[in-house]
């Protein structure tokens, strides 16, 4: 785990979430090789939800997602990711916002 990764966990730890277990609101389409935009998400996602596997594919764990929509802007049009809102009441719950 990189230094940046350990810091992001500390940041996300401050936040309040209600995770909808087993119903992730973002999915990555199975792929052989990620596009440059999809690959960029491993750096650009502010919650670092996207990670590159050892096999070279991009995976998502959306639990820390702040629902900013950056990945949707970059990768929804190409069909590489599927983005929905969490069900009502679930997801990030900003205390201050």
């Amino acid at each position: 785990m990189t230094i940046a990764a350990s810091r992001i966990e500390e940041k996300l730890y401050q936040n309040r979430y209600l995770v909808d277990s087993g119903r992730p609101h973002i999915k990555v389409r199975p792929h052989q090789k990620p596009s440059s935009n999809l690959l960029a998400l491993t750096r650009v996602c502010p919650a670092q939800c996207y990670e590159l596997t050892d096999e070279g594919q991009v995976e998502i764990i959306a639990d820390g997602c702040m629902e900013c929509g950056t990945c949707r802007v970059l990768c929804e049009a190409s069909g590489e990711i599927e983005w929905n809102y969490p069900r009502g009441g679930f997801g990030v719950l900003f205390k201050f916002g």
Binding site: R43, R72, Y85, G88, F94
Partner: protein
């Protein structure tokens, strides 16, 4: 779940949605407002500065009970390099007035208050409800919404889409396009808590007074971006935002540049000893006038960030959101009072009214600004800030060099970095985009 038909459904309980719902409900319309968060504000993120004038037009006596943090008496605009900042500061005692002009707010608290006003005005507000789809009739007119609650469709004469910058409904329904990566900024922000009196000491403020800093320079690592620091009552909102297209092409991590901003020698002492209680991220519309989508259609209007109504040059967003929400509501009330149907033709009144307001006039004024700043981000966000810092240091530092040689060195540095032609052309293009 809900059998009756409403005059209007408002999707979203942010600034624009609350302004729209409040205005329609207080004019006697039967309004349903749907919000996907646990409470209004739980999905909303802003810096945040709130401009009194635009809220006064909706709730004139808001100061009586709205949760306001500090009224602003000072604004600092900084140009930064890695070790310094050059600033223009404006502080005036005139801002200590009976009805102050601008306040810092904390959105989760403010939005709860605004939503209470919406309910008091008579609207029905339903939280924890995600709208999944627009319902249309055979002629493609929007006639209601479907939600993730059981019970099927909820019908209304008109749907106000106040769903925020990355609103799914309108884009899925092809009422507008998804924002492009070059027309939205990703901003990240932390809430740094400090005792009230410590904040007042550090910024030289009296109780209740506030100060904001907005900064460009090497902090955005050549991306088109802006750092900000806003003083709240007992916290400091500190963040930075840059264009999504720049983040993607530079492969930068937003929290890494936020951490770098926090450790900048000009910022670090201002937040020293603070306790961080939240980390947030949000998109900001940056495309300006040219990115404004179709604003109305058969049975629908779109307001606020969802309509890309944000003035990036003046960093104004929530006031455009509130104003567009209010004006859309007033247009709907007028159409209804003439007992006309909520057709595209009749709802065009919203756009006509919005064009007469500061919202469209301001965005039109700066219509060429996004393209200028976004295509020359290296020059405007790194080269010039560095040149400015060197020039300032050269001017301030006394080291026995004759002043005439110092001036020559500064001029030479500008010409070397941008060339004479480049300097002239930057000034001319900036002037044309600004006028």
């Amino acid at each position: 779940m809900i059998e009756e038909k409403f005059d209007a459904i408002v999707v979203g309980a942010g600034m624009s949605g609350n302004a729209a719902a409040y205005t329609m409900a207080s004019q006697g319309l039967n309004v349903l407002q749907l919000e996907r968060g646990e409470y209004p504000g739980s999905k909303n993120v802003q810096g945040a500065i709130m401009y009194a004038n635009m809220l006064e037009k909706i709730i004139p006596d808001f100061r009586d009970d709205a949760p306001l943090e500090r009224h602003l008496v000072e604004q600092r605009l900084w140009i930064m390099d890695d070790t310094s900042h050059t600033g223009i500061h404006y502080r005036s005692d005139d801002f200590n007035e009976a009805k102050p002009n601008r306040y810092t707010i904390i959105r989760a608290q403010f939005d709860k208050w605004f939503s209470r006003k919406v309910r008091e005005a008579g609207a029905t507000v339903l939280c924890e409800t995600t709208v999944t789809e627009l319902v249309r009739d055979t002629k493609d007119k929007v006639i209601g919404v479907r939600t993730d609650r059981t019970g099927g469709e909820i019908l209304a004469d008109v749907v106000v889409l106040a769903e925020g910058v990355s609103g799914l409904l309108g884009t899925r329904a092809r009422l507008r396009e998804m924002p492009k990566p070059k027309s939205v900024a990703l901003a990240v922000k932390e809430m740094h808590f400090l005792p009230e009196e410590v904040i007042e000491q550090r910024f030289g403020l009296k109780a209740g007074e506030g100060c904001v800093i907005e900064a460009v320079g090497t902090i955005s690592r050549s991306m088109a971006g802006l750092g900000f620091l806003y003083t709240n009552k007992e916290s400091i909102s500190l963040g930075i935002g840059c264009l999504v297209s720049d983040f993607a092409s530079m492969m930068e991590s937003p929290y890494v540049i936020l951490d770098a901003l926090k450790s900048h020698p000009s910022i670090r002492p201002l937040i020293a000893g603070s306790e961080v209680k939240e980390y947030a991220a949000h998109l900001i519309p940056e495309g300006g006038y040219k990115a404004i989508p179709q604003l109305f259609g058969d049975g629908w209007v779109v307001v606020g960030d969802a309509a890309q109504l944000n003035n990036a040059v003046h960093r104004e967003g929530s006031n455009l959101a509130m104003t567009s929400g209010r004006i859309a509501a007033e247009a709907i009330v007028q159409v209804k009072s003439r007992t006309r149907p909520m057709t595209k033709q009749n709802l065009a009144l919203y756009k006509t009214m919005l064009e007469k307001s500061f919202v469209i006039k301001d965005l039109k004024k700066y219509k060429d600004m996004p393209a200028l700043l976004h295509t020359n981000s290296q020059n405007f966000f790194t080269t010039y800030p560095q040149l400015m810092s060197q020039a300032a240091q050269n001017f301030m530092r006394v080291d026995g060099t004759p002043k005439i040689d110092k001036e020559k060195a500064t001029t030479a540095a500008f010409i070397k970095a941008r060339s004479r032609w480049g300097l002239v052309s930057d000034v001319v293009r900036l002037a044309f985009a600004w006028r």
